[in-house]
């Protein structure tokens, strides 16, 4: 076969391979082509990284307990040679891993699927009446004063607790409260302080820890709430706002003073809880998956990877689509940009900021960067230090914008940190050179061209279906590759050339 025709075959093969795999999954394995948003579920993953110190290693992890709001299903563990035992009772569950000796770092996983559950469930047993804490002076009399103060403003356990939390937040000038508020920062600190005050009045209370299930989060923060017993029921309070009731997205993980994970004979290097929101159709897939263990094709999907890795690959697998857009714009339309694929990276950054805000941020940073760049030019710095200075200035500009927009209460500024700063710096450098050599107009034109290409690439990679497809059907990228190969042998005119060479068109040119 001649080399000149091989690309046709290769391109067709790739498109066919991708298409057939896609079709097989849809037709034979019943994967939905479109995500059907009938319900949602969360994949929750706890990742415990331990470093052995000496001797046998034990690690324990508290597991979520079924409670009002959510139900845990499909639990699984990755134990990697460790022996695993589960301790369970009605209100507390714990996984224990043990191994006789361990010579290198190990990562243990706990994964579970969590779905909403509207049934009420018992929260905890009837509690013991706590004994009042014994305090030294001056704390004892201060405590007595503030208990008295709160008591006069409240009627029962519920209003007493609410008043305490209100005072903790809003009495910064009161000397009595201040005595206890020193060093109190996190919701856990607030909750424990409130517990001591409640104990003065023999009101039972309990700490409740959990995570918020609303977005995809790589490293979910533990939220602590305060549960107060009013004699008949447990009531939940947010220790930092004083608000009563369980927030809808709050999933209770464990109760009491314990920590989430414990080890002996080793150190905890990292403990990370990640959350990924899934549509119900993926749940159907998960059910099918167990039946499809033998199907190799069925296993080609990102759904089997650890949750954090999934979200990374979701972005990576979208890149070819952005690049395809660039190929079309460059070789068919004939647009040009600063840096071949820089627009794709800018487009990826737009995913974090949304289009309009992203474009504004980009223009802001680039134009401010240009001003600095022109100043640096006058200092006659050598090329590499000058580029380095521009990168540093871009980083500082981003930080400044983040701080400023945070002040103003605009949230998007924070995500600007994900903007590809090196790319922006190169754009600034190229723009300033073109500015000097070919004038401001050309430079701004090319800058806007890059921005236009980035926007078009963004509008493609932000199509919702694509994100679902690359996760469930990663083989669509084979089709993209096939198309790119085919486009690579397009030797016809570009759209802009039709204008450029228009005088040479027609039957009788000039």
């Amino acid at each position: 076969m001649t080399r000149s025709r091989q690309w046709v075959v290769l391109s067709l093969l790739l498109v066919l391979l991708g298409g057939i795999t896609f079709a097989y999954k849809v037709v034979r394995l019943g994967y939905p082509v479109l995500p059907d948003e009938t319900g949602e579920q969360w994949l929750v993953q706890a990742r415990l990284e331990i470093e052995p110190v000496k001797g046998p290693v034990r690690a324990s992890l508290l597991l979520p307990v079924r409670s009002t709001g959510f139900t845990v299903t499909n639990e699984s563990f990755i134990s990697r040679d460790f022996g695993l035992t589960l301790e369970e009772n009605m209100f507390r569950r714990q996984a224990d891993w043990a191994i006789r000796s361990l010579d290198s770092d190990r990562v243990l996983y706990y994964r579970a699927t969590v779905i909403r559950d509207t049934r009420n469930s018992r929260f905890a047993n009837r509690p013991e009446i706590p004994s009042a804490p014994e305090l030294d002076e001056p704390w004892a009399s201060a405590m007595a004063d503030l208990v008295q103060e709160v008591k006069t403003e409240s009627a029962d356990a519920q209003s007493f607790a609410a008043e305490i939390l209100d005072h903790l937040q809003n009495s910064p000038d009161d000397a009595n409260w201040n005595l206890f508020l020193e060093g109190v920062e996190s919701s856990l600190d607030y909750a424990r302080l409130a517990q001591s005050i409640l104990a003065m009045e023999q009101i039972p209370s309990m700490l409740v820890h959990g995570i918020l299930l609303n977005n995809d989060v790589q490293r979910s923060a533990i939220h602590t709430m305060l549960a107060v017993w009013d004699g008949e029921h447990w009531m939940l309070f947010d220790p930092q706002t004083g608000q009563q009731g369980r927030p809808e997205e709050f999933m209770i993980w464990w109760r009491g003073m314990e920590t989430l994970a414990g080890v002996s004979g080793a150190l905890i290097n990292d403990l990370q809880i990640s959350v990924k929101r899934r549509l119900r159709s993926s749940l159907d897939l998960a059910a099918q998956r167990t039946e499809l263990k033998d199907s190799f094709i069925g296993r080609i999907s990102l759904l089997h990877l650890p949750v954090q890795t999934q979200s990374v690959y979701e972005v990576l697998l979208l890149v070819p689509f952005g690049i395809l857009v660039i190929v079309v714009l460059r070789n068919f339309v004939g647009l040009s940009s600063f840096g071949t694929f820089a627009p794709v990276l800018i487009a990826l950054a737009f995913r974090e900021t949304e289009l309009v805000k992203g474009i504004l941020l980009f223009m802001m940073i680039v134009s401010m960067g240009l001003v600095f760049r022109f100043y640096l030019e006058r200092l006659r710095l050598l090329l590499v230090p000058r580029l380095a200075a521009v990168v540093t200035i871009v980083v500082l500009l981003m930080t400044a914008i983040s701080l400023f927009s945070d002040r103003m209460g605009v949230e998007t500024g924070l995500s600007v940190s994900l903007f590809p700063m090196v790319i922006i710096s190169m754009v600034i450098e190229r723009m300033s050179i073109v500015w000097e050599e070919r004038g401001a107009m050309t430079s701004i034109q090319e800058g806007l061209g890059s921005l236009l290409m980035a926007s078009l690439a963004y509008s493609v990679i932000s199509i919702d279906v694509l994100e679902y497809w690359v996760t469930v059907f990663p083989e669509v990228n084979l089709i993209v590759l096939g198309l790119i190969v085919a486009l690579g042998r397009y030797t016809g005119f570009r759209l802009t050339e039709l204008i450029r060479f228009r005088q040479l068109a027609g039957s009788n040119p000039l």
Binding site: N331, G334, R380, L382, L383, V384, I433, E437, R438, G488, R489, Y490, T491, G492, F493, R494, E497, L498, I499, R500, F501, Q503, L504, A505, G506, S507, P509, L510
Partner: protein, 321 residues
């Protein structure tokens, strides 16, 4: 457009540059120092190289490198599209005069050299070498057709056959540089006679030089036959099948090869009001044959000579040779 044989960028890249220009010969044209050596080995005339600045320290000893030269050109060895070329026409103590007549401080000059060495103008930002060449004193024949700077002649050489040529005239807008995308005017030239046929600025046709007001077409380029012959001989020097040869006319030394280009632009088609494709096809129609540069030039001049009768039939020419 296709039937008129207009060549687009995609086809130029895919069908000609990728197929005809072997990657390993690219350094011979992309590195202007190497290219100059190659051409000199072949006995082809090039502008004299005054000095090379390879290291940053050399920038601050520019005086030593320059010697007594008062007029020179600084260019990056790996530059493209005419970027980073600085033309100096005179020297007054620590000041230099550029092609626009502006004063350039010595420190500015040194900074420019460090930028070149740092790789600001080279492809991919690779560290580069700054070349200092003697300034070409352009042939007074062009005086009415140029604004500062040096006009040059671009010849497209395909598989050793000159196929199309144009003269590039610097303008005020191009700051004395002869690159079309910087604002210079491209003027089509009849391959056989060396007479200009009409100009193009950017992408639109012009008939008068915007700065001097002179008529552009109907001008006889001097030394035409040696220009075409030198261009054809470049094929043997660098072995690239699709080549752009840039030649300048020096008052004293005659035609000099300024540089070669492995990816010559396509505006030459607008300047000549002719597509390149038909001519490239005609050369391909000759098949594989080893011919001397003289034969190739003669064939090309007869085949592509008079633009009014461009629809030629190469066969009788071949049988006659």
């Amino acid at each position: 457009m296709r039937s008129n044989g207009v060549l687009g960028l995609n086809r130029r890249n895919g069908d000609y540059i990728l197929k005809m220009n072997d990657r390993r010969f690219f350094p011979l044209v992309d590195d202007k120092v190497l290219c100059k050596e190659r051409l000199q080995e072949r006995g082809l005339a090039v502008p004299e190289l005054i000095a090379l600045a390879r290291y940053m320290q050399q920038a601050s000893h520019l005086g030593d490198l320059l010697g007594t030269h008062n007029e020179f050109v600084i260019k990056p060895a790996h530059g493209s599209g005419g970027d980073g070329i600085l033309v100096i026409k005179d020297r007054k103590a620590d000041y230099f005069v550029d092609s626009d007549g502006n004063l350039v401080k010595r420190a500015d000059l040194e900074h420019h050299v460090t930028n070149v060495i740092g790789g600001l103008y080279s492809l991919g930002g690779q560290p580069d070498v700054a070349m200092i060449e003697s300034l070409v004193h352009f042939d007074p024949a062009f005086a009415g057709l140029t604004y500062h700077g040096v006009p040059d002649i671009r010849v497209i050489v395909y598989r050793g056959y000159p196929v199309m040529a144009m003269v590039r005239l610097p303008t005020r807008e191009s700051h004395g540089k002869a690159n079309l995308h910087q604002g210079a005017i491209g003027v089509g030239v009849d391959l056989a006679t060396g007479i200009t046929v009409g100009g193009v600025s950017g992408n639109s046709p012009v008939s008068l030089h915007p700065d001097t007001g002179s008529e552009i077409s109907g001008f006889q380029v001097p030394h035409w036959s040696s220009i075409v012959s030198m261009a054809a001989q470049c094929f043997e020097a660098v072995e690239l099948g699709y080549l752009g040869v840039d030649i300048v006319l020096d008052e004293r030394h005659g035609p000099l090869i300024l540089e070669l280009n492995a990816r010559p632009g396509l505006n030459i088609q607008i300047a000549n009001r002719r597509g390149l494709r038909l001519r490239l096809d005609a050369v391909d129609g000759l098949g594989q044959r080893e011919e001397s540069p003289e034969w190739r030039v003669e064939w090309a001049c007869r085949a592509f000579g008079d633009p009014r009768t461009d629809l030629f039939n190469p066969e009788p020419l071949l049988s006659g040779s």
